[in-house]
Symmetry: C2
Subunit: 149 residues, 2 copies
DNA sequence: CCTTACGTTTACGTAAGCGTAAAGCAGTCG
DNA sequence: CGACTGCTTTACGCTTACGTAAACGTAAGG
């Protein structure tokens, strides 16, 4: 019954909630990723739009292009349609899955590498601590402005 | 011992092996991600350079910017240095790790969503198969002006 | 010597993903 | 009746990550 009067949001509220700029939201609309209703000229966001934005941002965090994100989020609200279409969609899902699984492998390898680097850091620190008896003051904690050459 | 005469590669060979263009490799050198030796003007790639390129491409697959990749891969061959520097590095590693862990959450959620969509696809297919005896040709589907080309 | 194959540099082009004015409606508060 | 406030559109600008010529060097082979 109350399907017509759910809560709505303004663009500013959505932007605030999802920590993006108004420009970003409008851009997503420009490229067809979002299509909020209009009350006059103003955009009116409903729950669905927020969910979609959430999916978009998740895709963005994963490093997908807006184009890829577009194909992905559109998978979600694909109508049943005909069989060929469903087969095609399943195929596309498989492609995406393979991609994501490759990413997870990359990600886990990177995490392992980082853990390794960190371990070596701690070893080096221990070595420094052990040999630190000569220096005045054990704290030796400079601001360390040093970075890339 | 034989530390000076390891195998080397040309830019074309590396590009072929890693499936990137020459331009890409040169670009990575431009931005300081790679720094192969030179024999005259020609680039000479050693094993280390290839490993580095591997790391770069892994970062790229993960959706990192070249700038981020730069800080990440440079972590790997950071010299022991002083304590403050090591602490800084450990801190940076932690930042990266948090990022990667967020990505993995995003990734797993996306995979779960895709699995869900796929499941619904199969359900729809089953439904279509079941109801396929009625209409001639099985295509009783009027509306729903369709999607992908 | 000339071609072919491979390498080089310099430099402009481009697509994506927004940033950032500039300028204009629409409601509302005093 | 202004003056805000918050929204809108239009449109040029910027960065990243390369693509894409253009023009030239160098070594091998016919």
């Amino acid at each position: 019954m109350t399907t017509g009067d759910e809560r709505t949001w303004t663009i500013a509220e959505v932007a605030e909630d999802y920590d993006v700029t108004l420009r970003t939201i409008r851009h997503y609309e420009d490229v067809g990723l979002l299509s909020p209703e209009r009350r006059g000229t103003a955009r009116v966001f409903r729950k669905r739009d927020r969910v979609r934005l959430g999916l978009i941002l998740r895709g963005r965090r994963l490093g997908f292009s807006l184009d890829e994100i577009s194909t992905i989020v559109n998978m979600y609200d694909e109508q049943p349609g005909e069989a060929g279409q469903l087969h095609y969609l399943i195929e596309q899902i498989d492609v995406r899955r393979r991609d994501l699984e490759q990413r997870r492998r990359d990600l886990d390898e990177t995490l392992a590498d980082l853990a390794d680097v960190e371990r070596r850091c701690h070893e080096d620190l221990a070595r420094l601590d052990g040999a630190a008896s000569g220096a005045a003051g054990g704290r030796a904690d400079g601001p360390a402005p040093r970075r890339r050459p």
